[in-house]
């Protein structure tokens, strides 16, 4: 079976730190920044466990601010 690897980018200035992507992620890839905040004072989301990402788009689908882009590759 081909292995799927994914990665996401979060537009950190647009992110409002609502945590919905973190809840929606089936592989616990995402977390909110524990200390750092963006210009508007929100703890933005980031890939805390990038190896786990499978590029399923769940985070991007539930993101109310459309700040997540998803990338996916198939490894043989």
């Amino acid at each position: 079976m081909a292995k799927i690897k994914g990665a996401v980018t979060v537009n950190k200035e647009r992110c409002k730190g609502c945590n919905l992507c973190v809840v929606a992620c089936p592989t616990d890839t995402l977390s909110l920044q524990p200390l750092e905040v963006n210009d508007r004072g929100y703890h933005f989301a980031y890939m805390s466990n990038p190896d786990a990402c499978i590029g399923c788009c769940s985070c991007a689908l539930v993101c109310p601010d459309a700040c997540i882009e998803v990338y996916r590759v198939k490894l043989d």
Partner: protein, 253 residues
């Protein structure tokens, strides 16, 4: 493989829809409005309706929808979006006319306009965001507020003897002969978002095919009005709101 190697335009499977403007929305973090805006922007792009879509914005939190989705919009007076949409769709029948309304707009002040537009079978798509509260004005009780639900004006919970029953207007609209497609969806999980997208797509197709009025209710959350975190609000919505507003198609002709 490192994330930096994967992040390449050739491998991109999901990007911000082209029709969403670069403006940051004024919605609270975790608001369902943002998700529905994104679905609409994606659909109008995919269906190639960018130049023919006319939205009618409501009064309520979504009043600035015209700033966020880059198509033509008309801002209607409070609750009068279906009446304005009637004129738009009759005067330019080649266009896709849709209204985007909250529960305070559609189910309270605009009840008459909504019911009569649906009863006349106007060729419009009505997108109805039901979060059971007046979000914009500070979380007061709406007609759709659930029994026992605490709001700013029902601090001990909504009482039937004092405030009446929650109004299930989507069920009401499904009874009318003018509606062709009436459905209730939610956007709290990724599968639900996919289903909601299909429902709105069908509503847009019906409006373009002149089949009658389509109503898509999105059972939503208002985490700041409900005084919860966005994740808690989604959970509360899934357990409590869907009891009174069960998800699924009510009419599909």
């Amino acid at each position: 493989m490192k994330p930096e190697e994967i992040i390449d335009p050739a491998n991109r499977v999901y990007a911000r829809p082209r029709l969403l403007t670069e403006v940051n929305t004024h919605y609270c973090p975790g608001c369902s409005h943002g998700v529905v805006h994104r679905i609409i922007a994606e659909l109008l792009d995919e269906m190639g309706l960018e130049d023919r879509a006319v939205g009618v914005a409501p009064v309520g939190c979504a009043v600035f929808a015209y700033n966020y989705i880059d198509v033509d919009w008309v801002e209607a007076a409070h609750g009068r979006a279906p009446a304005v949409a009637t004129a738009l769709s009759r005067l330019s029948p080649e266009n896709l006319v849709f209204t985007y309304q909250g529960d305070g707009d559609l189910a309270a002040i605009g009840t008459a306009e909504t019911i009569h537009a649906a009863n006349r079978g106007e060729n419009i798509a009505i997108i109805f965001i039901n979060n059971a509260i007046y979000g914009m004005t500070g979380g007061q009780m709406a007609p759709t507020t659930l029994i026992g639900q605490r709001t700013a004006t029902t601090p001990y919970g909504r009482r039937v003897d004092l405030n009446g029953h929650p109004l299930n207007i989507t069920n009401l609209l499904a009874q009318l002969p003018g509606t062709c497609y009436v459905t209730r969806q939610s956007v709290h999980t990724a599968p639900a978002v996919r289903k909601a997208k299909n429902a709105i797509k069908k509503a847009f197709e019906n409006a373009m095919a002149k089949k009658g009025t389509s109503v898509v209710e999105i059972v939503s959350t208002c985490n700041s009005g409900w005084k919860m975190t966005p994740a808690q609000a989604n959970e509360w919505m899934a357990t409590h709101m869907t009891e009174h507003y069960p998800l699924g198609d009510l009419k599909n002709e």
